[in-house]
């Protein structure tokens, strides 16, 4: 049977690639500290020795559009090209190509449907920075096959937070029931408080540092009850108009399990938004 080698939840900051590769006068003052945190975070995946990565993210109106919008979608294809013209333009992200694992994708689709999630699928999916950012930070060689899973945190009506948690729990069960002896890391990215295109954007910190502090505590301690008691589709408007991306963190809390304390917790207060990084080892910390 497959083993969940690591569960990882992270923000996906599209400026990391440019900040970390900039030199001289172009290199921002926070770049070195950011790179140090990312390298420590990367080591938490490396030492889990994964064979395959399940990657949870959210399309930012790239391939998925309002004329045909899935709530949850699994990519099942031999390859995934990645990053889009407007991400190259705004963030300087490189074009990438990642291998896919169709067998695990097929297992997740078949058994996810049977478990009560009407998962959409795509056999030709160009993935965006919600998935390539964690590849860049956590596995820059991009040498492992992936199964991308997209969630709709972007185009209302959205599924409610509890549904994201439940999908996370189900993904964990689906990976653990895959009858193939592989080590699978489940990685998902979202946001803490975030404002895009509104009055609170691009401030000195994230738009709601108090929400961010509580969010990091919920995730680090696996406090799903506390998180679900406070977070609703309506409440997520308050910390910032793009904060519904926090539901992908809640999905990852579902993967990690209620009460599961993260084995690695780190954060970095940047302008515009706070970065946060979490790793759990459900089967024990690797040597």
């Amino acid at each position: 049977m497959a083993t969940v080698a690591a569960v990882i939840a992270s923000t996906h900051h599209p400026f990391y690639y440019r900040a970390s590769t900039a030199t001289g006068a172009d290199r921002p003052p926070f770049a070195d500290a950011w790179v140090a945190k990312i390298e420590a975070f990367r080591e938490t995946l490396t030492k889990a020795r994964p064979d395959i990565l399940v990657m949870v993210g959210s399309d930012h109106f790239h391939q998925l559009w309002l004329d045909n919008m899935p709530q949850f979608l699994v990519g099942k294809a031999p390859y995934f090209d990645a990053n889009w013209y407007n991400e190259e333009r705004e963030f300087g992200l490189p074009r990438m190509r990642l291998a896919g694992d169709e067998q695990l994708a097929g297992h997740i689709l078949r058994n996810g449907l049977d478990a009560g999630f009407d998962l959409a699928f795509s056999n030709e999916l160009r993935i965006d920075h919600s998935i390539t950012c964690p590849i860049i930070t956590l596995r820059p060689d991009a040498d492992l096959p992936i199964v991308p899973i997209y969630t709709n945190i972007f185009a209302p009506p959205l599924p409610r937070p509890g549904r994201f948690v439940e999908l996370g729990r189900t993904i964990r069960q689906l990976v653990e029931s895959w009858p193939i002896d592989k080590r699978v890391a489940i990685i998902g990215t979202g946001h803490l408080s975030l404002e895009l295109g509104g009055p609170r954007q691009f401030g000195a910190h994230g738009p709601d540092p108090e929400f961010d502090r509580k969010a990091v505590d919920w995730i680090a301690s696996g406090d799903l009850d506390g998180c679900l008691a406070e977070v609703t589709l309506d409440s997520l408007h308050l910390p910032g108009n793009a904060t519904h991306g926090f539901m992908d963190f809640m999905l990852m809390m579902g993967v990690a399990g209620a009460g599961a304390k993260a084995d690695h917790v780190d954060s970095l207060d940047l302008f515009h938004t706070m970065e946060a990084y979490f790793t759990w080892y459900p089967n024990g910390v690797p040597a």
Binding site: L66, D67, E90, L196, G197, Q201, F202, G203
Partner: protein, 119 residues
């Protein structure tokens, strides 16, 4: 109200480098051409199989023709789409983050709840 069509304009222009430049240089002409030629084009379908019913309201058309991102916010256009396209058009005329901060300041009079973006 046709928030969907506003978003469709922002989405289709943002993903096309030539259209980004065209909209920057000639907003009114680009909006008129787009509404005439592309508003009813079902994306991912053959050109002949068009919709027959999509049109901007006068208020929406004017907001797009005037590059009025504050009005687009008020009309419920998706703020991510508006921001991404407007950064592509106008960040180049400003210092680092200057445009993004000014864009936010222009919206300061908006308190919560923001206009509904559901389509």
């Amino acid at each position: 109200m046709s928030k969907y069509l506003l978003n469709k304009f922002l989405y289709t222009v943002d993903r096309d480098p030539d259209l980004v430049e065209r909209y920057r240089e000639d907003a009114a002409g680009t909006v008129d051409w787009w509404e005439r030629e592309l508003a009813n084009q079902v994306l991912n379908c053959a050109v002949a199989e068009k919709s027959t019913w999509l049109a901007f309201t006068d208020e929406e058309r004017t907001a797009l023709r005037e590059h009025d991102h504050v009005k687009l916010f008020e009309l419920g256009a998706h703020p991510f789409l508006t921001l991404t396209l407007f950064i592509a058009m106008f960040e180049r005329d400003h210092g680092p983050l200057e445009y993004q901060k000014a864009y936010g300041r222009a919206l300061q009079h908006h308190a919560l709840p923001y206009p509904d973006i559901a389509t």
